[in-house]
Amino acid sequence: MTGFLGYDNDRLLNLRSAMDRALLELSDLHISDPAANATLQLVRRAHLAIADRCRPPLQALLSCQATTAYVPARLQRNDIAVARLENLQQTQGWSVVTDPLVPRPQSMTIEDARALGWALSQTHLKSLTKNAEISWLATNLAEIAQRPELAAALVANMTADAWKRLCNQLGDDRITLLSTLTVEYRLSDDDRSHLASIDAVFAHLGAIMASGTTTGLRTMHPYAAAMLVQHLHLPAGELAALSVDLIRHYRIGGWADVQRPGPGTGDLLMHAMLDTPGAPAAFMLLIANDPAVVLDSAHSRAVAEQLILEGTNPANITAQQAGSVVPSLARYLLTSNAARLGFYGQPSRDCSVLAVDLIAPWLLQFTATHQDDWHFATGEGARLLAAIVDDGDAFARLTQRRTEIAAGLSGTIAKGGDSGRHAVEDLAAVLGLIDTLVRQHNIAHAAETRQLWDIGFALISVAAAQLPGGAFTTVGTGVALAGLRKLLVQHGIAPKNAQAVEHDTLYALDWQTTVAAATVVCLTFDEMTRDGRIAAHTPPPPLPDPHAAAPGARYSSDFETWLDTANLGSAATVLFGLKQTLASTHETERDAAELARR
């Protein structure tokens, strides 16, 4: 016994036909005479022998789809055990398959893997449709995937076309099953098992492909390729580039998953990228000039948005890189109908939340101070920001993102050369930007005063931490800022809890700018006192007055009086410059005039 079965396909078909005719004849054999019972019993036994023990293996063999028990094999000329079959295979065109009647080795051999690869590459084989076949394939591929020598043998004998054909079919079947699940809310046991087997085959094929070649991924159906990509564990850059290609291929349209419910090509690829550190950012950089690739390809808006925010997070991307992505995405969100309608007629969506989330960590880059970072023309950044934050709701969302805004500010300051100077300038720039937004859109009354203060407070804390001596200090907590902290604590930090709660948002803006200036001045004063630039017994700088009708103007006045009387020498120029950067006398007087009118 060689373990192989060789056959002439035409003769076997004839045998099956003859068998079917013989069974019909046997079924038609009747006689009513009870004396013939013994005879008919023998006839029935003959019928059973043919119908139950001869025909099923014949049928299985003739419907062989590469993965029944009969697996097509290619014989080696130098194997004497199969020489006869090999000769018939070579000279008579016989087919040769493995024969399950002879016990096979417990584990697969290299020859088995070669034969499977070869069998899957035979175009005359019918597609795999039965669950048992897929399950059989999954079991064998699992073993192959775990043994590199088997994987190499399979890959060497499996054509790119075979990969494509098999994966396309499994992908299409998977889409159909998931659609059924979505529509009917359940799957039959067989379908559920089928789906699990398909997923297992994809997992094992992916593992095998990962150890060898990714050839053919770009030519198969995008959904099938995306299923494989889940298991390739590609490096971030490679995954991102491949995902861009596959999504663009998908966007050509006409694929089975386009209008089906459930995760589609885009969703699968985006999930894979979200699971791969660095991939979202690499992907976003690649599609910077074509935002539709990310915004109009996933069935799940949430997944696409998660990828966008992950890929543009300051933790994953430099400010320079963000400059090529964030503005183009923001413009696309503001202007493109496609961004609002979604891919293939999905329900329209409100992109304003995403737009605010997108720009929140990069608020500083929209300021005039940093407009060159992203190659904005004069005022372009502010205009784009104003278009995004165009009402009270948008501003409220922005203030809710204060943690991200503060993180973005911190990241940019930390990367600057002279962090102390940058911190103050950047803090002033962002506070000024918020001030401008509030005034431009008259959103003061829509925005919660408390939120407005909170965002300023977060920014002040970040900037203060970047000043000399402020590395471990935040507003109101540092030893050097004891006086200011006491003041802020007394008034509950936010003016809403103090007398200032009766004032409008302009008051809050004025107050937080004043606190920012006072924070920087106090911090710097303490540092100068420590290093001897300012005499030890010099009176400390003034604190903001929460009871003042115009805290900024009052502070400016008190501060300048203090400078005139404290005998600070050259330190006075430094402290004045810092204070003016955050809360210039001109601005505070303007605020005071406006507050007086209300």
Partner: protein, 82 residues
Amino acid sequence: MTTSAPSAAELQQRALNLRHLAHRIEKLDATVLYRRAGTDTWIGPTAQRCIDELTTARTLLLQAADAARVTARQLELRAINA
């Protein structure tokens, strides 16, 4: 209620039917299927088992034909004595 014994003519007719049955069985395609399943069609363990089963089926059918004839002969003897 009693049943009357079959007449000689009835017994002879039944015997004739059984002999026709035996003849039909012997002419069935199933008795020669094994010839189509030889080594010019296929070779291997499954092929061998199939040939064995087809040979068994042929044997059973020939036994069935013999049994039908034996029964027919018994009915004919009863007809003579009826």
